[in-house]
């Protein structure tokens, strides 16, 4: 793996899912609601996007399904519970740090809106 970036790269949807899980485990539907609230409705994670994003994060070892999931329910990411792995926490922390640095750079470049 890339020594500068020890965690797999994240899409915007992937970052939002990890961010939603940073404060504790949630089911997929709560992740969808979190994304909408955290971005004031600018970014939505419709079920198809959510399902693919979580499949990807599971494959990369950034999230895991918890034992609370209803295994008998139809396979639907909205009804299953997920939590961060250690690698997932590292990835979301790294991305948040990078975004903070970029946000500061944007402010120094005069891009900060007066209302934010």
């Amino acid at each position: 793996m890339d020594p500068v970036n020890p965690t797999p790269p994240l899409t915007q949807a992937g970052f939002l899912v990890l961010l939603a899980l940073a404060s504790g485990e949630r089911h997929g539907y709560a992740v969808m609601r979190f994304a909408e609230e955290a971005t004031s409705g600018r970014v939505r994670l419709p079920p198809g996007t959510l399902y693919r994003t979580i499949s990807r994060l599971l494959a990369d070892g950034l999230v895991e399904e918890t034992e609370d999931s209803d295994r008998d329910a139809p396979h639907d990411a909205r009804r299953r519970y997920y939590r961060l792995t250690g690698l997932g926490r590292l990835a979301v922390q790294g991305e948040a740090d990078l975004m903070a640095a970029l946000s500061s750079a944007a402010a120094r470049a005069g891009l900060r809106r007066s209302d934010s």
Binding site: D2, P9, T11, G48, Y51, R52, S55, R56, A59, D60
Partner: protein, 147 residues
């Protein structure tokens, strides 16, 4: 952003033996299965695989839909390229999983380490990594006189 601006281009591969092919792409190239659609009789409609940020769809060959696998048409006119940090390790992993080497991995004049593999289902894959970060002028001056 214009509504006509494409978001991505996603190859759709037809194979004989979609289940085995998906297993091969996961093992050989580290693809991640994102989604699968299966008909009631068990035939795979399509499987969506992620290769890094890229996606590839895999379906069972269906001659009625003119969806033909490379073995049926006698080859493939398309090459799919995977970009990766360690191209030698990826090629080795793919060969171990059943790919054959068409062109061994070597330094290419355009500044990449590059090779070509053929998978067990007849699709051709280039594997590549950026090495030298050449400028377009560098590449032009290093281009051989003919293929």
């Amino acid at each position: 952003m214009s509504e006509q601006r494409p978001v991505a281009v996603t190859p759709h591969l037809f194979v004989r033996g979609a289940e085995k092919a998906v297993g091969f792409y996961v093992k050989a190239f580290g693809a991640a299965e994102l989604f699968r659609n299966t008909f009631p009789d068990g035939t795979i409609g399509f499987v969506e695989l992620a290769f890094g940020d890229g996606r590839v769809l895999i379906s069972e060959e269906a001659p009625a839909l003119n969806a033909l696998a490379p073995r049926t048409v006698g080859g493939s006119p398309v090459m799919l390229m995977i970009e990766v940090n360690d191209v030698d390790a990826l090629a080795e992993q793919a060969v171990e999983a059943g790919a054959t080497v068409e062109m061994p991995v070597e330094e290419a004049f355009w500044g990449e380490r590059y090779g070509v593999l053929v998978d067990p289902f007849g699709h051709r894959w280039a594997v590549s990594t950026v090495r030298e970060g050449l400028t377009p002028d560098d590449i032009t001056s290093r281009t051989p006189p003919k293929i």
